[in-house]
């Protein structure tokens, strides 16, 4: 990686990242974002993340990015999982146990049906 030497470099970097993001969303890529702050991990986010990864492996799915993020502040609802499919708005789920995560994967990611029981915001 070249060091950033000017504002133009930073702007270029930003545009590159934006471009990458656009290509991904345009291709209908699915993003699954797991809240991995201390609270999330204590509430079992690691198990949830593992369940999601195992599901993807087992079903041999492609075009799905699983990534982590910090705490959004809704501690009572941890573990929190957000799902973004392509250009659709972000859907936020709360209290996602490994079982709930598999349900979300099956119903929302594969069939496009939002899982109402765990919905926080969408």
């Amino acid at each position: 990686m070249d060091r950033v030497k000017s504002l133009e470099d930073l702007k270029k970097l930003r545009e590159q990242a934006l471009e990458k993001r656009k290509v991904k969303t345009a291709s209908g890529e699915v993003q699954i974002i797991v809240g991995m702050g201390t609270v999330g991990i204590a509430a079992g986010a690691r198990e949830t993340l593992k369940a999601i990864l195992e599901f993807i492996e087992k079903e041999n799915l492609s075009g799905i990015t699983v990534r982590q993020t910090g705490n959004i502040g809704w501690d009572s609802y941890e573990p929190i999982v957000q799902v973004v499919i392509g250009e659709q708005p972000k859907v936020t789920y709360g209290k996602v146990t490994p079982d709930a995560a598999i349900r979300i994967m099956k119903e929302h990611v594969l069939n496009g049906q939002v899982v109402k029981d765990h919905l926080l915001e969408g």
């Binding site: 060091r3 030497k5 201390t38 609802y77 926080l120 915001e121």
Partner: protein
């Protein structure tokens, strides 16, 4: 406290009272009762809503619709249309352009969860904290680039001063002023320290920022370093925050790789390095001079002040010590300008505040809202009411060192000035909400016991004062108290406040003073009647009263 479907707040600053806020309030009550909505809708008078051109202002939650100016004769229409039928009354609504200050969150976020105004936590919970590209995509390092390439250090300080940002660690010292002290201090070598010790029980706002958005702190520290003339920074992270330390290490390595830290940042001749120093679990090390001693490898004991760290800090050099949340405000201020920042919060305390909500409420967690909203709103809207429908009795702000705030002050706007006027302190932003089952003697006992254990022992008033105060409170809770104990508690707390060396001893007295000020009757009941009104205290001597 019941959980209401809707809440109506009426401003009650002097001018609103002059324009008939009282009649509006009464009219609302009459109309709501006439419609039989009194179990569903709560009506209260709140303090100053921060709107000085319109009187009186009415807010209806949860839609957060603003009406004004409201006259008593407008009330039936609002009740009929909005509260009964659920339709907003557009002809009385204040236009969104006029919304400012604490009401700016209305437009911030729509959804099933209450809207917040996020400046500090904008990216936490959105970006991947271990990926610098994600940070850059969300305007990361743009403020640093702007500052280094187009602003002089004194311009940066002027901008921070103009923004009116106050330290978010608890004391509320103006940040720009502190920066100017360090910048003016003589000496070549200077340091920037980020205080991430966050040892106040119940506070975890800094952890969320560090875990969710570590690059923001690195960027802010580099800006601060440029403004005050420092080329080295330390982040003093609480020892328990392993995840935060890990993510900071990753972030520092990435920032170095991309050239946002190190030599010749953005091709200028500004250099900046950041080191991480892990605390070892002492409460006192959150005090800035004890923190500096700890970094130097000495025992974490506070220094005598003056001289202040701004001139004689780390290794005797001028040092800037800022809290994590304070620093996290810096990049947005410099990116968008001081004018933009002043749009949020109250005129004397601009910006937002991150609160951690815990205790007997339905919804615990973390919120970021404009300065100046009231406890009533926090409890009813963000915390979704008290657990099991109980009544709100008191709130304890800012971990242990904050104030005990009785229910009677729940309509005081939460900003530094209003709280100072009311004689309480905002502290670090932890809100421990307690219901009627909480005994104030027990609460004070727990808090003072905490200080007793955490006192470093350097100065006598604190070392012995906290121990004596704890003994007396213990005695009262065991039914052995006498009325003279209360006088002794007050004189002990005066000594703690006036004679202690540092903030620990000075704030250790706060819970004692507050319970005697607001809940004296309850404390006296322990002594005069020999009963604990809430049934929490045992009221019999325990076996070894000396050691807890």
């Amino acid at each position: 406290m019941k959980i209401y479907r809707s809440m109506v707040l009426i401003s009650s600053d002097p001018k609103s009272m002059l324009y008939g806020a009282e009649e509006v309030f009464q009219r609302f009550q009459q109309e709501i009762e006439a419609k039989g909505l009194q179990d569903e809708v709560q009506v209260s008078m709140v303090g100053d809503l921060g709107r000085h051109e319109v009187h009186p202002v009415v807010i209806v939650y949860p839609e957060a619709v603003l009406y004004g100016p409201v006259k008593p004769e407008n009330v039936p229409l609002i009740v009929e249309e909005h509260l009964y039928k659920g339709r907003v009354v557009p002809e009385l609504q204040l236009s969104p352009q006029e919304l400012s200050g604490r009401i700016a969150w209305l437009t911030a976020r729509k959804g099933t969860l209450p809207a917040e105004q996020r400046i500090v936590l904008e990216r936490a919970g959105v970006i991947d904290p271990t990926n610098i590209e994600d940070y850059i995509l969300h305007d990361g390092y743009a403020a640093l680039g702007k500052v280094l390439t187009s602003m002089k250090p004194e311009d940066v300080i002027a901008e921070v001063q103009k923004s009116g940002l106050k330290g978010r660690g608890g004391a509320g010292f103006p940040t720009g002023l502190k920066w100017s002290f360090v910048a003016k201090a003589p000496g070549g070598k200077k340091y920037v320290i980020c205080n991430a010790d966050e040892s106040e029980p119940g506070t975890f706002k800094d952890r969320v920022i560090l875990e969710g958005d570590p690059h923001a702190i690195l960027e802010a520290m580099a800006i601060a370093g440029y403004a005050v003339g420092a080329d080295e920074g330390y982040i003093y992270v609480r020892g328990e925050y392993a995840l935060a330390q890990e993510r900071l290490n990753v972030a520092i390595a990435q920032a170095k790789e991309y050239g946002f830290l190190g030599k010749n940042i953005f091709g200028t001749d500004f250099h900046f390095e950041i080191h991480i120093h892990s605390g070892a679990g002492a409460y006192i090390c959150g005090e800035e001079t004890a923190l500096i001693e700890s970094i130097e490898g000495k025992r974490g004991e506070p220094r005598a002040r003056p001289p202040y760290p701004t001139t004689h800090g780390l290794w005797g050099k001028p040092t800037l010590v800022n809290n994590v949340e304070t620093l996290a405000n810096i990049p947005p201020i410099l990116r968008n300008g001081a004018e933009w920042y002043r749009k949020f919060g109250t005129p004397s305390s601009p910006g937002t505040k991150v609160y951690t909500i815990l205790g007997n409420v339905n919804n615990t967690g973390l919120i970021e809202v404009p300065m100046g909203i009231t406890l009533r709103e926090v409890i009813a809207i963000y915390a979704r009411g008290m657990k099991n429908g109980r009544t709100f009795k008191l709130a304890q702000t800012g971990g242990s060192s904050g104030s005990v705030i009785p229910a009677s002050l729940q309509d005081t706007p939460m900003d530094f000035d209003s709280y100072n006027k009311a004689g309480v302190s905002l502290g670090s932003g932890a809100l421990l909400i307690c219901d009627e089952d909480t005994c104030v003697v027990d609460l004070a006992k727990v808090l003072v016991n905490f200080f007793r254990k955490e006192s470093c022992g350097k100065c006598t008033p604190c070392r012995i004062g906290t121990y004596r105060a704890y003994q007396i409170l213990q005695r009262i809770s065991e039914g052995q108290g006498v009325l003279k104990d209360l006088d002794e508690l007050l004189s002990l707390s005066d000594n703690l406040v006036n004679l202690s060396n540092c903030g620990l001893g000075q704030t250790a007295a706060t819970p004692i003073k507050d319970i005697l000020k607001y809940f004296r009757a309850e404390v006296e009941a322990h002594i005069r009647l020999g009963v604990c009104p809430t049934g929490v205290c045992t009221m019999v001597p325990e076996k070894s009263p000396q050691e807890a």
